[in-house]
């Protein structure tokens, strides 16, 4: 046997022999074990290592490990990350959410989705209104719309995360948030056209009312149904 000329399959078979994993070594390795001194040397090295007595760890090792584990405090972002990334099972059915009790996780999902929607809306408005430039100069309230959308997005996501984390105790905050949102959507829908008679103000007003009011009612309804679910235990 020559190490450099050996085929990979022969090496694999030989390793199985060294591991004692083959039933009949000689049958597989042919004449190798009998005739090749190098094979015997490799076998002797493997045997020597296998027969090495176990290395004993220091007696205090287990104690030291447990002390470090007891003292370990995970960073806050790890805790938040784990809470968010933990696999959860929640059925998402908005129509059912209007009629029957739903879980806190599902309710949280709706809040987060509303937040995502407003985040996208905020970015779109920011880019869109920026292009209008000086045409909007006197329309202060319209210029505030992207910021209002982004603040709404942040609040919705925060409420959603709170619901996801704490469930029942977060319902009260979610309810207040949903009512404030509904009221603000209504106010925004009225305030914008009052400020200046621009085509864009009509659009913003309509958008705020058409999206804000049904969404607000939907969120309030889901919170009620979520409360029913917790009441049922």
């Amino acid at each position: 046997m020559s190490g450099s000329l050996m085929k990979d399959s022969d090496i694999e078979k030989m390793m199985d022999l060294l591991a004692g994993e083959e039933k009949n070594p000689r049958e597989i390795a042919g004449e190798h074990p009998e005739t090749d001194p190098r094979w015997k040397e490799l076998e002797a090295i493997a045997r020597m290592m296998r027969r090495e007595p176990a290395v004993e760890p220091p007696g205090s090792l287990g104690k030291s490990v447990m002390e470090r584990i007891r003292a370990h405090r995970p960073p806050i972002w790890t805790v938040v990350g784990e809470a968010l990334l933990r696999p959860r099972t929640a059925s998402i059915d908005p129509l059912r959410a209007l009629r029957s009790p739903i879980s806190g996780q599902e309710c949280s999902f709706y809040f987060i989705m509303v937040g995502v929607f407003y985040a996208i809306l905020g970015v779109v408005l920011m880019i869109g209104l920026n292009k209008l430039g000086s045409a909007l100069a006197p329309a202060e309230w319209i210029r505030w719309q992207p910021r209002i959308a982004l603040v709404t997005a942040s609040c919705m996501v925060a409420i959603g995360l709170y619901l996801l984390k704490d469930g029942k105790p977060a319902l009260r905050i979610a309810r207040i948030g949903a009512f404030v949102y509904l009221g603000f959507a209504l106010l925004n829908g009225i305030a914008v056209p009052l400020e200046r008679d621009l085509p864009v103000s009509a659009f913003v007003s309509l958008f705020s009312a058409l999206i804000g009011l049904p969404t607000g009612f939907f969120l309030i309804r889901t919170i009620q149904n979520c409360g029913k679910q917790y009441a049922q235990g």
Binding site: I45, A54, R86
Partner: protein, 187 residues
């Protein structure tokens, strides 16, 4: 190794019972320490690395999939920590290898025989430490830790064929080193 319900213990730890982790530490501290020692050649480094490995395992326990076997997962965590340590170039000088080597439970009664065996162990450890880390890993897992090639492959992330080739290359290199050193593999 005593039989323990690892799944239940992991559930308890994930549920906030940190003390339950002590059972896993007690069960696996020996093999993990041994792996770290064989890979670094230093008892002090092995001690530090073993603590680091268990801490890392504790932190990552949430990623352990139910139904998976715990010890290959723990060995994978161990190898990652050890590889990082070795990458930082914290290799031991040749003359320091085996200093503070933990006393092994050797059944020999004859002191002379024991001294010869100890010298042979040190020599073998030196040869082992001269191997490239990936080859060393495969050798240690296969022969010192007694893992099957399937488990060696699973822990190192290699194919079974690749694990076997690494072990073969390792044995060949040690054989060459022994030849150059004038020692033999015979006990």
């Amino acid at each position: 190794m005593k039989q323990i319900d690892e799944g239940e213990i992991i559930c308890r730890v994930l549920g906030g019972d940190r003390e339950a982790f002590a059972v896993l530490v007690d069960t696996y501290k020996g093999p993990v320490f041994s792996l770290a020692f064989r890979m670094t050649g230093s008892a002090q480094d092995a001690d530090d690395l073993t603590q680091e490995i268990f801490l890392r395992a504790f932190q990552s326990l949430g990623r352990f999939r139910a139904g998976e076997r715990f010890f290959p997962w723990l060995y994978t965590v161990s190898l990652n920590v050890i590889r990082n340590h070795l990458r930082k170039g914290k290799a031991l000088p040749e003359e320091a290898i085996g200093k503070g080597m933990p006393e092994a439970t050797d059944p020999r009664d004859d002191p002379a025989e024991e001294a010869v065996a100890r010298e042979r162990r040190l020599r073998l450890q030196r040869f082992l430490l001269r191997l490239p880390p990936p080859v060393r890993e495969a050798m240690v897992l296969r022969f010192y830790e007694g893992l099957s090639f399937e488990d060696v492959a699973a822990v190192t992330g290699d194919t079974i064929s690749s694990a076997k080739m690494k072990v073969y290359r390792g044995l060949e290199k040690i054989r060459s080193m022994m030849e150059a050193d004038g020692s033999t593999g015979d006990e």
